[in-house]
C-alpha cells in the first residue's frame, strides 16, 4: 500500500548504503547468548574477509561472555538473512553474499548461554 497523502509522497531512504562512507551495515548475533540483549550493528567494508569479521568484530564484541573462552566460531551453524549458509572465511563479505543490512546469526551447539543448553537463557 502507499501512504494516503495530500500530495506527492516519495522520499529517499535515510539509510542508503552510500551514506555509510564506503561501509555497509551488518547485523550479527551469537544466538542464545541473550545477556547481550539484542543483535549488534556494525558498519563494515564489503571487501573485509569473513574471517576478519569473526575474529576482529564478532569475537571481541562477545569477549566478556563466559562462553567465549571455549568457542570455535568456525564450527558454528551460520545463517545469512535467516537462511542457513556456510561461510568461506577466506573470502570477502561481499563474496559470501552479504549486502547492506544483512543479518548474520551463528549458533554454537553446546555453548548456549549462561543457563546452559536446557533453557538456553543467557
Amino acid at each position: 500500500m502507499s501512504v494516503k497523502s495530500i500530495g506527492d509522497y516519495s522520499f529517499t531512504p535515510k539509510d542508503k548504503v552510500e551514506n555509510f562512507h564506503g561501509n555497509m551495515l551488518v547485523y550479527m548475533q551469537w544466538e542464545k547468548h541473550l545477556s547481550f540483549c539484542a543483535p549488534l550493528a556494525f558498519p563494515l567494508p564489503p571487501d573485509m574477509p569473513f574471517g576478519d569479521l569473526v575474529a576482529g568484530v564478532l569475537a571481541p564484541a562477545y569477549a566478556v561472555h563466559p562462553d567465549s573462552e571455549n568457542v570455535d566460531f568456525e564450527k558454528g551453524e551460520w545463517q545469512l538473512n535467516n537462511v542457513p549458509f556456510t561461510p568461506d572465511f577466506s573470502k570477502s563479505l561481499q563474496e559470501n553474499g552479504l549486502s547492506h543490512k544483512s543479518v548474520i546469526r551463528v549458533r554454537t551447539p553446546g555453548l548456549e548461554g549462561l543457563a546452559g543448553a536446557d533453557s538456553a537463557a543467557g
Partner: protein, 507 residues
C-alpha cells in the same frame, strides 16, 4: 431617564450552543473543502458533523476558570514540597530514575500532543470536534508545563534532568517515544485522534498513569502525585474524546470501519511497544512496587480491553491484531527491557542496577513461569561481575527495529530463548523489525518509515557529534560519568547515602 429593559439571561443549553457550535460557520468566500483540506483525504466519510456529541458541555470561559483553580492548588503544593525538602521523603534515590525517564520521554510528548491537537482541531470542519481538540491542546501544554515544574525541584539535586528537550530529540532510546508521536502527528487528523485519543488515551492510558502516579504515591514523590491529581479531570475528558471520536467515525459511515480497524491495529501495537519502558519501571525501578506489569496487563488490557472491544463489536470492530502476542509477552517484557538498559547503562541518561534479594523474591513470586528459568541466571551473572569489579556493559551498538526503533530485544512468541527477527524488502533495501506488528505497519506505508531517523544508523553516518561513544554522549548533552552508568557508582547514590546517614544521626 430611560430605563433599559434587562435582557433575559441565556439558559445553560442556549449559552452552551452560542459559546461552542455558534462559533463555526459555512464559509462563503472559499469553498469549505478548500478551507478544510485535510479532513477528507484519509477516506473517512462524515455526513453529519452535528451528530458529534460533547459529553462535558464545557465552554472555554468555564474551562479557564477550572484550570486556573487547579493550577493555584498545584503550585501551592509544589512550593511547599520545595520548601520542606520534599526530595528527602522519597523511598530511595533509585526511584528518581523513573522520574528521569518520565521527564525526558513523556513530558515532551505532552508538548507534542499540544501541537498535535492544535493542528488537528484546526483541520476539522465540525465545530464540536474542533473545540474538543482546542481544549485538549491547551490541557497538554499545561501538562507539559506543570510536569516540568513539579519535577524541577529534583533537578537541583539529582543528575540527568538538565536537558530534557535536547535529550528527547537526540538520545537513542528516546527516539522510541519521539518517533511514536512524530508518526501520529504526520498522519491525517482522524488517524491522529485514533492514535492518541483512542488507542493511547483510552485503551492504554491506565498502563501508563497507574504506574507513574501510584508509583509516585507509593514512593513518597508528592510533587508528581499532586501533578497527577491536577491532570486527572483532564484525562477523563481526553478518554471521553477518545471513545467519542471512534464511535462518531463508526456511526457516520460503514466504509469507515475497515480504515478505523487498521488504525486501531497499528496504534495498539505502537502504543504497546512504547509502554515497554513502563513495564521495566513497574517491575524494576520502583523501590516500593505497586503491582507487576503482568498484573497490570491482565487487569487493564485483558479484562478492561476485552470488555471495550466486545462493546465495539456491534460496529464490526474486533480486538487489535497481535494482542495475543502482547499477552504472551507479559511474562517476559519487563525483564528483557531492564536487561537492555543494564547492557547500555553507559549510554543512558539514567542509572540501572540489579535487583536485590528481596526484589528477586518478588519477581519470582510475580513471574513464576519465567523469571527463575530465563532471567535470573543472566542477572546473577551481572551481579557477580559487578561484585568482582567488572560491571558488564555492552560495548557494541544494537540492531534496531525500523518501526518502533527499539533494539531487537524481543523473543519469538512462545520461545524466550530465540530473538525475533522480521524483515521486509522495499526498493532494493532491507528493513528489519522486532515483531510481526511492526513489520505490518512498515509494509502498509513503507514510504513513511524509510525516513526513520534510526539513532544507531545516524551515529554510523556521522550525524551525532562524532565517531567515538564519548562524542555521541556529549552531543546528547549528557554529563559523562554522572548521568550515566551503574546506580551504585553514581553521585546520586553517594549523595543519597550521605543524606540517609545524616538523617539517622539526627534521629
Amino acid at each position: 431617564m430611560t430605563v433599559h429593559k434587562r435582557t433575559k439571561k441565556m439558559g445553560i443549553k442556549e449559552r452552551y450552543a452560542s459559546m461552542t457550535r455558534d462559533l463555526g460557520w459555512e464559509t462563503s468566500y472559499q469553498p469549505m473543502d478548500k478551507v478544510f483540506p485535510y479532513d477528507t483525504y484519509e477516506g473517512i466519510k462524515i455526513h453529519d458533523w452535528d451528530a458529534w456529541v460533547d459529553p462535558f458541555r464545557l465552554t472555554m470561559d468555564a474551562y479557564w476558570k477550572y484550570q486556573s483553580e487547579k493550577e493555584r492548588k498545584l503550585y501551592a503544593v509544589i512550593d511547599s514540597f520545595a520548601q520542606n525538602n520534599g526530595q528527602l521523603g522519597i523511598t530511595d534515590a533509585r526511584y528518581l530514575n523513573a522520574v528521569k525517564i518520565f521527564l525526558t520521554g513523556v513530558s515532551p510528548l505532552e508538548y507534542a500532543a499540544h501541537r498535535g491537537y492544535a493542528f488537528t482541531g484546526r483541520h476539522f470542519r465540525g465545530v464540536g470536534a474542533r473545540i474538543a481538540c482546542q481544549m485538549q491542546s491547551v490541557d497538554e501544554l499545561r501538562h507539559a508545563q506543570t510536569q516540568l515544574h513539579s519535577m524541577s525541584h529534583y533537578n537541583k539535586f539529582f543528575s540527568g534532568m538538565h536537558s530534557h528537550k535536547m535529550m528527547h530529540d537526540r538520545v537513542w532510546y528516546l527516539s522510541v517515544p519521539k518517533s511514536f508521536f512524530d508518526d501520529a502527528m504526520t498522519a491525517g487528523p482522524f488517524e491522529f485522534l485514533t492514535a492518541i485519543s483512542f488507542s493511547f488515551e483510552y485503551v492504554l492510558t491506565n498502563l501508563l498513569f497507574v504506574p507513574f502516579m501510584s508509583g509516585a504515591a507509593h514512593n513518597g514523590d508528592m510533587a508528581t502525585v499532586t501533578f497527577g491529581f491536577s491532570a486527572q479531570s483532564d484525562e477523563a475528558r481526553h478518554m471521553t474524546l477518545g471513545i467519542e471520536i471512534i464511535k462518531f467515525m463508526l456511526e457516520q459511515d460503514e466504509a469507515n470501519v475497515p480504515i478505523v480497524q487498521r488504525w486501531i491495529d497499528k496504534w495498539f501495537w505502537r502504543g504497546y511497544r512504547m509502554l515497554a519502558l513502563v513495564s521495566m519501571m513497574m517491575d524494576y525501578m520502583l523501590p516500593k512496587r505497586v503491582m507487576s506489569w503482568k498484573e497490570a496487563w491482565e487487569m487493564y488490557f485483558e479484562e478492561a480491553g476485552a470488555a471495550l472491544f466486545e462493546d465495539l463489536g456491534r460496529y464490526g470492530i474486533r480486538m487489535p491484531k497481535y494482542h495475543e502476542v502482547a499477552t504472551w509477552e507479559k511474562d517476559h517484557l519487563s525483564h528483557q527491557v531492564w536487561s537492555t538498559f543494564y547492557n547500555y547503562a553507559g549510554a543512558a541518561a539514567f542509572h540501572t542496577w540489579m535487583p536485590n534479594d528481596n526484589e528477586k523474591s518478588w519477581l519470582k513470586d510475580k513471574y513464576p513461569d519465567s523469571f527463575e528459568k530465563h532471567y535470573e541466571p543472566r542477572f546473577d551473572h551481572f551481579t557477580a561481575k559487578k561484585e568482582a569489579g567488572e560491571r558488564f556493559f555492552n560495548g557494541s551498538l544494537p540492531m534496531l527495529c525500523n518501526t518502533c526503533q527499539i533494539p531487537l530485544i524481543f523473543t519469538e512468541p512462545g520461545d524466550p530463548t530465540t530473538t525475533c527477527y522480521r524483515e521486509s524488502e522495499y526498493k532494493d533495501d532491507k528493513y528489519h523489525f522486532c515483531s510481526d506488528g511492526c513489520k505490518d505497519i512498515f509494509d502498509y506505508e513503507p514510504e513513511k518509515y524509510i525516513q526513520s531517523w534510526m539513532p544507531v544508523h545516524q551515529i554510523y553516518q556521522g550525524n551525532c557529534g562524532g565517531a567515538e561513544l564519548e562524542d555521541v554522549l556529549k552531543w546528547y548533552q549528557m554529563d559523562l560519568g554522572v548521568d550515566n552508568g551503574d546506580y551504585h557508582d553514581s553521585e546520586d547514590f553517594k549523595m543519597w547515602t550521605e543524606w540517609s546517614e545524616n538523617q539517622k544521626k539526627a534521629v
